[in-house]
Subunit: 152 residues, 3 copies
Amino acid sequence: MLNERRNVLKKLFASLAGIAGLNVVAKAASNTTFDKQAKNVVYDQEIPLFSSSTKHGGFVFLAGIGAHFEGDIKAHTDHVLKEMENQLKKAGSSMDKVLKVSVFLHDLNDYKAMNEVFRGRFGSNPPVRTTVAVYGGVPGNSLVEMDCIAAV
Amino acid sequence: MLNERRNVLKKLFASLAGIAGLNVVAKAASNTTFDKQAKNVVYDQEIPLFSSSTKHGGFVFLAGIGAHFEGDIKAHTDHVLKEMENQLKKAGSSMDKVLKVSVFLHDLNDYKAMNEVFRGRFGSNPPVRTTVAVYGGVPGNSLVEMDCIAAV
Amino acid sequence: MLNERRNVLKKLFASLAGIAGLNVVAKAASNTTFDKQAKNVVYDQEIPLFSSSTKHGGFVFLAGIGAHFEGDIKAHTDHVLKEMENQLKKAGSSMDKVLKVSVFLHDLNDYKAMNEVFRGRFGSNPPVRTTVAVYGGVPGNSLVEMDCIAAV
């Protein structure tokens, strides 16, 4: 059943991202509203949908990051963590400053393999983490989605 | 199966909210404990259950908001966002100050339609967002539940 | 189906925690990186996996807490809340300073019974709360997992 769901999702996301006109693109945008700063706004049909990062009061918040290519949980986890590092650097933060990570797995059976890639990536004082599995609930056919809150 | 689940949930929530004695009501309450401020405490049988918003150190946190009426994902998303705006205003914040939104969909197939209502609602520097679907896991038969963290 | 899932998860977690060599252990560690402080780092094969709490800028973040023993939702909720209180105290915070709680239920049918144990545990100005159910997605066979953000 889960495999069927994945196939459905793959088609869904393909249609979301392309044919069906969702037209989500990331543009470079870094404006300041009072203290809040938002970076790399993602647009849906030219309308701002969400930002890749926001900053306020010494904290940076990252949007949920998935891996939208064919690959196993280790490849997906590695991709997500590398993208997290990229986004943190753009926002003036870094992996060792991450305070909290939320992990949404496609399948709880991937828990151990996800850990094998996750461990050690945040230095000797890693963030807190909350992990749950949502069985088909991760958008875009990704096996894992992660967001984080970091110090900056 | 999901439709069956929704019916079960509808009954469950009806019983939760009414007959079965949960008796959850929102009362106006805005007290200060040190820096922390809590607004609109929700009670369960006269005992404080959770607040609608809390504030501390330049940040406001909103409780998960659902839509507990018959309607499609667009109607539910619109309701949730309007209620979010109301709660933010009560707390002295606003939609353009939202830093992070968490979106829990009932069904990932609602992703695109949710986006159509979501986009543009937070101004030109929108919050980061994390979206997953929980397939029957949103309380009270809502098609979507959202919470947020905002600057204040 | 959910019961079957639970059994699978029980076996999975047993294997994760033991035989299969995950070897996750909590060690006392409280170091400071700039402002960020991390407490009780959990290691996976001697490599830092995540911390039990992190602190920065007047906020403390707690890792997701589950109940990994045989018991019903009330016993699991009570255990999780007691452990939350322990971790908050270690970090210099307390239950009445909690700003936001995320609740991940194994089964939405446990919502009411979870509330019965949850209510009143955070004083008269409780945190905001977001609750969803993930139907088999909570690691380690726990019926509920909670994390929090608190003032400190």
